[in-house]
Symmetry: D2
Subunit: 328 residues, 4 copies
């Protein structure tokens, strides 16, 4: 099968190409980038030298000869491509934020009108698997909501308050240099940002509602001096105390058939480069602390996009993704 | 005045010597270490070459000719020195955990009997200033409780729940190598530990009670791939919503006369190497997020110990400590 | 085919298991560790959870049911296993230093007698490919000599002096905590060590001689605050000046058929986790600067060991190893 | 005395203000920045909150009421200010490259005409102390040449080849974000750059000539994932072998009266934040490896500028600079 990456110059584009090397059914044969059109993909992604001979090209949807398109573009850019792609019968996985929220919520959170809205599955596979299967168009979740939601899901119904305290690696900010990503501002340092107002909160709340949770939900992100990975500490407050054994069993049962969720002590390096979410839970009085880790570029973006592609195409969900993390 | 450091081989010992270089009234003339006795202090603290000509010696309290002793030893080791020091009329600042909690609480939390307990001031200067002034013996607070308590104090009375989510640099684990501090286990990585059971929680609860707070208090620490610094994100839940302007004013007023607390965006590197605590607060509905940063080895240990010494000796509290942080 | 890892608890053991996941012909079914015998392999290598169900066992060579053994043990430990393994007709790849040097040189450099010496191929595949093909026993090169030798090889005959200035990630020091690997001693820091006397120098000189080089050879290693990777800056002094174009062509021609050597700007992250050596060269007067990067745990250890296994077993040299690096 | 910093928004500007806090004779009362004019200095340098109440202003040399001006501006910008400053009798310390080289060399190396050249002392204090004393205008050396030259100076006359292999922290690249300083391109990574053509080579060669050295001199810089510090490994080739004891004594004697040069194992963290240069030397056959470390922003920039100010003003050279490094 043929795949195209629209917006292939960034980290998620690079990861899609890297991960797809071990996928048996798909070949990426189009990689677009307005800025780098005409340059080899490996000029931007040198680790792929010997693996990818493509040249970045200008996106030209009408001439696109492909079966599936990954939209790895900023929010509002994706919605501009969607109608044409759908018309041509090309499957779509949108890694931007454009189709993750109801229209009105999107417009409020992102402060911009939505010009091509559709109601499509939210591709957090563990929670929306059936909806994604054979779907022609799926929205890939945000990196923070992925790890956070998986941390709280088994307790969602019992919680009255969920506070996600998340810590992300710098690749989550993309590949454009800025003061935020300037090494001397990050190295040997640590900061919190958007203490109460990060856009991903809307997705998190939506998923708790989807899970039938009555909980109030809060979110504070932090920036780590690491390249990849998100660790989310979910502080979950319950009406009633819960025993450690009970909550542990609850989590293990909840995820026992999930190929990409492992119950073990979370550490960014156990999942680095892989599609796994590792998590662990500890109870104390009315509070449960659930900690999850994912690689923000894999399970938090490109890996989950491939997982969604597998579902959409009727393949085994793990196809091409069963690779261990890299430690150290 | 003469000062002795009992247990001078670790990071807090090194910091006491480093910081005391700019103190006009005190000279350190004894530095003990059982393990390194006979070796120059600079063999362990090479950055002090040219500043400290002492040789580590075995601790011999009965022969100690000094005015004030800093106990920079592990918990249970400090209580063994205290009676002899007091008998000789030597002032004491204990950087260990031995005198931070009531006897029964200490014995439960640290799982060991206390053989020489006394009720002395808890040297979190901003909250216990008067008790520390001219006191002969002060207990220096834990690193986590220092930053956490300063983050929550202004709202303590209004909160029903306080969750401290703290992230510390590796120097907090001391200078002894272990799997926890092994570079490949920490570098480009991030982990949570003791999710609900860290010993410092008892100090945090004690301080909230001291502040008249009815709040439940929880604490989860994390290990950052940085050398120094603790950032604490205090998730404070209130019975009633509070406006941003109101909470901001509350914090600024609360700390307006504090020489070492600054209201500004917290970043580990703004306080690196200094005795400052920077903090900021943001309200959203019933939740307030207060974020504080300190250097765990300075305001979280040796700097605050000198601040306490200044109070105990009747000097200006800032003597020798008015040095800016080091950024980048 | 069945493979056993003798000494599987360290980083090279973990990497052998990780990399072998994509090898179509080999299954690891024995992983030994005296210290961790009885514990699951994933207790030490949590990233492998779901991929490796083995339990560490005590090494028992006489009862070993395997086709090939990887010796991932410290020097002098390997020579103790070799005779028994050979007697049973088990193929061996020795990742220790025991068989890299002539007996007398080994004994001098490592300061210990060699009790089971044999003359076997030195498995730097690019230089000793034919000797390794179908060999029953191969010695895997040191990490520093691998990257350094590949940097200098094309110019070896023309050089009168070769100075290798190498910088390694901390995983090269193994997984045992020590002052050297203690995070606060490494993070945001950088040091040189063994300025003129590192043991790997003997291998480097041996390979220059093998290449017919008359050059004097020197080596200084440094410790980087990174997990993986070695960058070697080879300062190569020639009797006569060379043009940039000429030396560039020389390198590109020399390596044009090598599957794991790429001519491009070297950056640790382009080869991270992969078996590639990226290199580049620049001439100025009589000096050429050649820079190479490898992942010390892959091309510098376990990846090259698999490359050697492929040669020894008559398979395509790249089998199971054609995976791109991970950037960022 | 009054001092002005022209171009105070960058790291060297911030360091000048930080370091000057402990200088008894000087107050900075002007800090210029075209880009940030009107904003408080602490908006850019938050660590200085409580220490510096200045507001950035547009540089207006004709109205400058000051005794000494630090030019912390990019090359070519300094030469535009110099004539006016000199005319007003204001002492100048130029931290840019504009006055470090003879006019013709500057114009070739920097590829731009020099419009206001003057022959002034090169402020590497250890080598040009007498020239700097009471001088009205001094050029502050480059960061790389400072550490490199101090490493080689004692052997300069005996060497036939000197190769400086230097590794710098990212703050050396300034505070403007770029792909080079983007965290995911630097963190857990390491690269070499300008393998044979860095501009600082001209200064290095100039100083070797000044020292009477006949040596060929080469230089290759590398970028470390650390904030501050330069470690230079000087590979020094001699016509004749030298004994370890002899070369060690040579270095110790050479620097025995230098207040800021210490003979001890070099480690970036021993000098972090301080004006020290630590160095060590090891001999092997005809090669000597000399390793030096400095903080690029202190001894490599702002600290040395203050050292020069002290010399120019007839004060003790160490005034305000006798502060130990910060470890860890």
């Amino acid at each position: 099968m043929k795949a195209a990456i629209i917006g292939a110059s960034g980290y998620t584009g690079g990861e899609l190409i890297r991960l797809m090397q071990s996928h048996p059914h798909v070949t990426i044969d189009v990689a677009t980038s307005r800025q780098l059109a005409g340059r080899p993909v490996t000029s931007q992604h040198p680790h792929l030298k010997g693996f990818c001979n493509l040249t970045f090209e200008n996106p030209d949807i009408s001439a696109l000869d492909t079966d599936i398109a990954f939209l790895a573009v900023p929010h509002t850019a994706a919605m501009a491509y969607v109608p044409d792609l759908l018309e041509q019968g090309i499957k779509i996985i949108d890694l931007s934020a454009d189709y993750r929220l109801p229209k009105a919520v999107f417009e409020e959170v992102y402060g911009t009108p939505h010009t091509a809205w559709k109601d499509i599955p939210y591709g957090l596979c563990e929670l929306h698997r059936d909806a994604c299967k054979n779907a022609p168009f799926v929205s890939n979740p945000g990196c923070f909501p992925t790890g956070a939601t998986l941390a709280a899901a088994p307790l969602a119904e019992k919680a009255h308050t969920v506070i996600y305290d998340s810590k992300t690696g710098v690749s989550g900010a993309g590949d454009s240099p800025s003061a935020t990503t300037h090494f001397p501002n990050v190295g040997d340092n640590f900061t919190a940002y958007k203490l109460t107002s990060h856009r991903h909160l809307a997705e998190m709340r939506q998923e708790l509602v989807h899970l039938g949770s009555p909980a109030r939900c809060y979110f504070t992100p932090h920036l780590l001096p690491v390249n990849r990975g998100i660790l989310t500490t979910a502080h979950i407050l319950l009406d009633e105390p819960i025993e450690q054994k009970e909550v542990e069993k609850l989590y293990q049962d909840y995820y026992k058939n999930e190929p990409f969720v492992r119950y073990q002590r979370p550490s960014l390096n156990s999942v680095r480069g892989s599609n796994f979410c590792d998590l662990m839970v500890e109870a104390s009085e009315n509070r449960v602390v659930a900690v999850s880790v994912i690689d923000n570029l894999v399970k938090g973006a490109s890996g989950q996009a491939i997982q969604n592609m597998n579902l959409m195409c009727g393949w085994d969900e793990t196809t091409g993704l069963m690779t261990p993390g890299m430690l150290p």
